[in-house]
């Protein structure tokens, strides 16, 4: 048994087979499950609205997918820098961990900036929340709602990442922040996972 495990059982006497390795991790997973239902409802209702509409525009003709494909790639890259940050922290290299956490936050910030650029371009072309020149007005509504909800998650993630860099810096030993960084990673990968779904359902199909 590792030292952290013995500390854990000391503070948690009523350990059962269901007791998680980390309560924080379980907490994050439960939050993410709830959040996933939120996104699931948004995407399912998007599908419902699209199916019942006879003049739904073709998303890849209106939205264009070149920029979004690049944004998808960027988010995948930022997921890789996130796991690298955790890997380096596990090896005890706090400096490399912080560099990779910073790169992850940077990736997220660029993603949100590109999304802002995309939104302003589309708004300029006539895509509004209450109507557009291509067909069903709900097309714009659902587009801004779903990508906006995801964009807020990315923005929150960037703030989360920046604060976790501070947290890692302030611990006395690098390993003390391992669990917290892993939990941050869960959130960040979830945001990536949701984007994979949003990109497929709202841009490609």
């Amino acid at each position: 048994m590792s030292p952290s495990a013995s500390v854990h059982s000391a503070v948690e006497p009523a350990e059962s087979p269901l007791t998680p390795e980390s309560w924080g991790k379980l907490g994050m997973w439960i939050f993410l499950a709830g959040d996933a239902v939120g996104f699931g409802v948004l995407l399912a209702s998007y599908g419902g609205m699209r199916l019942t509409s006879a003049d739904w525009p073709s998303p890849y003709d209106v939205l264009g997918i070149n920029l979004t494909a690049a944004m998808t790639f960027l988010l995948i890259c930022s997921s890789v820098t996130m796991v690298k940050a955790l890997e380096w922290l596990g090896k005890g290299d706090r400096t490399k961990c912080r560099i990779f956490l910073f790169l992850t936050a940077l990736g997220g910030a660029i993603f949100v900036s590109l999304q802002a650029y995309e939104w302003s371009k589309l708004i300029h072309e006539g895509l509004h929340i209450n109507g557009n020149p291509w067909g069903a007005s709900l097309f714009g509504t659902s587009f801004f709602l779903v990508t906006g909800f995801h964009g807020l998650h990315v923005t929150g993630g960037v703030i989360y990442l920046v604060s976790i860099i501070r947290y890692v810096t302030n611990r006395q030993v690098p390993q003390a922040s391992y669990n917290a960084v892993e939990i941050t990673g869960l959130y960040w990968h979830f945001v990536d996972l949701v984007w994979i779904m949003v990109f497929t359902f709202m841009y490609l199909i």
Binding site: K25, W29, G47, V83, E87, I196
Partner: protein, 109 residues
């Protein structure tokens, strides 16, 4: 065992899988397949990518069953939701097939 840092999988390999699947997704929409085939393929690619992220980046593969069950719950709810919405969607789609204007008049039940 418990509390120990789990082994790190080969993240770069997962990265390449994700990148290649993204290229496939974009290639598929220009492929000369029927709409239904494209949708099924895209859905398959997206699910594969999401599973790769959850299993390896989020370490679900190396976690306890409790966490796995928490993670699977929204998937079950989402699947139920699709089957709740689809029949209604198909019914309306069938009724309004070929009649573009019909959609603007809400169907009376």
């Amino acid at each position: 065992m418990a509390g120990a840092e789990h082994k790190h999988p080969d993240y770069m390999r997962i990265f390449w899988y994700l990148a290649i699947l993204t290229v496939f997704e974009i290639a598929v929409i220009y492929a000369p397949f029927g709409k239904a085939t494209i949708v099924v393929l895209l859905f398959g690619f997206a699910l594969t990518k999401a599973s790769l992220v959850a299993m390896f980046f989020m370490h679900l593969r190396f976690e306890t069953r409790t966490l796995g069950m928490v993670a699977v719950t929204p998937l079950v709810i989402a699947t139920l939701l699709v089957f709740l919405l689809l029949p209604d969607g198909f019914a309306v789609a069938k009724r309004t097939a070929g009649v573009k204007a019909a959609v603007s008049a809400p169907a009376k039940h």
